[in-house]
Amino acid sequence: MGLVEDLAADLGPARVRPGGPDDAIGGRVPAAVAEPLSPEAVAAVLARAGRDGLAVRVRGGGTKQSWSAPPERLDVVLSTRALHRLIDHAPGDMTCVAEAGMPLAALQAAIADVTTHRQRLMLDPPGGAEATLGGVLATAAAGPRRVRYGTPRDLVIGARYVTGDGLAAKTGGRVVKNVAGYDVAKLLIGSHGSLAVITEVALKLHPLPDAARTVVLRDPDPDRAAAFCDAVRGAPITPALVEAAWPEGLVLVRVESTEEGAAAQVERLRGLGPVEELDEVAADALTADLAARAWAGTGPVLAVGVVPDRLADLLRAARDAGATLVARAPVCAGELALPDDDPDRAARLIDAVRALGGSVQLRRGGEDLRALVRTAPEPAVLRLEAALKDRLDPHGVLAGAAR
């Protein structure tokens, strides 16, 4: 019997199909695509993989497969898309629980009943409407709002997962405060599907603000733009976004507060630099444009991070490399898009960011570039990561890579 038939015997014929060119990851086409309907079915796929020595790659919306190394072998794509239910939304507790294959956009729509409760999951990662909760967690993807609300590690309060050898387990819970047990969710966030399949997530929600106002500063001088960002960080304001973009030398600040609070904060911002206020339509358009900007071309995209007082240097590095930068200024993390595939240009930029003590990860680009970006961690860290992989995926079936 072939692999598709074998899996069909485990999951039912409707849940399995042969892989096609569209399912290729890193140029490898899987023999089968399995779409399990339950954690038990996920465990069944992994159990078979363990028995038959198959390589399994987990896929949510398929928007961030390029964020981690391609699989060396690929037999099965395990799609989480059939695990898409909202399991619980407790508006009064500001928490929700959903299956991992639920698209983030679908979750936002399901919980945003504006008439009864104004709340939202404050995650706005790249990847559009297709990105699933599980994929966002597995890649630790975050967007502009991390400035105020943090990244997935700050918003996840619990998870269910299936280890590589089919153990269905949970970590955390459904309450916003909880220290019982190891916080395995922290390990799964950013693990790129290398340790376990996330099947369910419990999340902390936040209230939508009463009022939002947006201003922009345009200053093509990296030092002045960075100084403005620094002043914003030190001022008594509560921005939800502080996006700095190069080449324009543009800084967008969106404050979210009560009506009175937002008005007072805009006044503060006017005192910090020659800002211009945007109306809602213009503000939303520019915010969307900034979110898309780094991904707009077809060239390589890097995720970079430096310590906050190196923002001006980061802007200069982007300028010198002719790259596009969109960064969350207060945390100094963002995306750098290169204009072309020139390896020397990429190498110069990576060196420049590293010289600032910064971090670099590949978001989009060829394997040559991935090799340039890759760093060797300390041996003891490598040992720990290997030990975790060994214990959570003892048969080595999960073909995800955490680095």
Binding site: A90, P91, G92, D93, M94, T95, R118, Q119, G150, R153, D154, L167, K170, T171, G173, R174, V175, V176, K177, N178, V179, A180, G181, Y182, D183, V184, K186, L187, I189, G190, H206, P207, D230, G234, P236, T238, T258, E259, E260, G261, A263, Q265, A303, G305, D309, V331, C332, A333, G357, G358, S359, E378, A380, V381, L384, L388, R391, L392, A402, R403
Partner: protein, 489 residues
Amino acid sequence: MAATQTTDRLGTLAERARAIVGPVWVLSDPAQLSTYECDGLTNQRERPGLVVLPASTDEVAAVVRACHELGIPFVARGAGSGLSGGAMPRAEGVVIGLARMREILAVDLPNRRVTVQPGVTNLAITEAVAPHGFYYAPDPSSQQVCTIGGNLAENAGGAHCLKYGFTVNHALSAVVVLADGAVVRLGADAPDAPGLDLLGVLIGSEGTCGIVTEAVVGILPKPQHVETLVAFFDTVEEGGETVSAIISAGIVPAAVEMMDRLAIEAARAVTKMDWDAESALIVELDGPESEVRSQFEAVTRICAAHHAREVRVAASPAERAAIWTARKSAFAAAGRLAPAYRVQDGVIPRTRLPEVLRGIAALSERYGLRVANVFHAGDGNLHPLVLYDSAVPEQVEQSEELAMAIVALCVEFGGSITGEHGVGTEKACSMPKMFDGDDLTAFDRVRGAFDPDGLCNPDKLLPTPRLCGEVPGFHRVHPVERAGLGDRL
């Protein structure tokens, strides 16, 4: 025979430890050792075989390496203020005390971070940066004494973690001595480093993943404006419903704390305040002034709408401090109400407060023991204080049963057995209430990856046969399997 071997090994370790840290920093005199036999959970004690007090990362690493070679279990100890038995040693084991490592190594204001040794107290970080207008956000009530190492180990929270999060949301990196004595830095200076979030899982691991010998933590600018009120209610339910209403209104206060009549009485016995109500609700807002003012008005209206008998607004920093003194004294003051008490730390979804408080009252009546409630209402983290007389043997037993029944109630309502004090030894046997055999097995695998030989603070956090008897369904990896000599399949 086994006992002699243990003594011999401890003797060898003592010798090596003296060479590493200097003879005066190795304690083996029984009288000195008994200082280290328990943490804040004083009803569980064990005198350690040895106490070593190193002064640097290198010394910690050398001592841990020696323990590893000799197969001697060790436990890190900060201030010993833990409330779940986390720092309790084993009789044949070693306490590695970090009290000598209490230097603030660097203050980096432009990047808003402070580098500290593990024995630095939580409050000392805030004190170091306060002159520059900054503070360290996690504020456990024990902040004057508890150490940053202990805070990382327990993922400590405090009254203000409702808005600002816990230790894990503020720690940036740490130097850690692993169970085999290797030294690593987990986390990084810059955001978004590649690789697994090993720091994230170490925080809250109760000293079982290694010993933190240096930590970098983030600091925040002091809020521009703070408003605090205390509202008094004729019923506990009204207080609880007010909490839900504030959260539902989309307001995220800096803190929402609640005390019931018994807790108020206790606080009154030790402070000068005149509070008198079935429940008192403390609400604090902080942030930009205009935002705080408009939201504070809304909170005041919500309190009135829920029949608050009186709302007192702190008109000065002194009045604010008085409100917080009343809240923070309730704990210690419980000692005035009864000869002994047990603190519980269960969490519930915050909308279930009224029901759960009624449930606790019913349990209290059934067991014939009084329970005072003083807790972090905003995030549903209860601290029921079960009062009893330790001279009456039945009460000792019943108080423990009652405390466990309260924990079970929290889990029944979809909550947790612990919100900030940790599992330790105290609640290890309660873990199966929340987690099934597979959950526990997965936890054990994580632990095993950090500590394959089971020497780094054993018998904490997870149920062990030694503590709890056999745990159904929980498959611990047997050393034989670990060594690859056998398999269960």
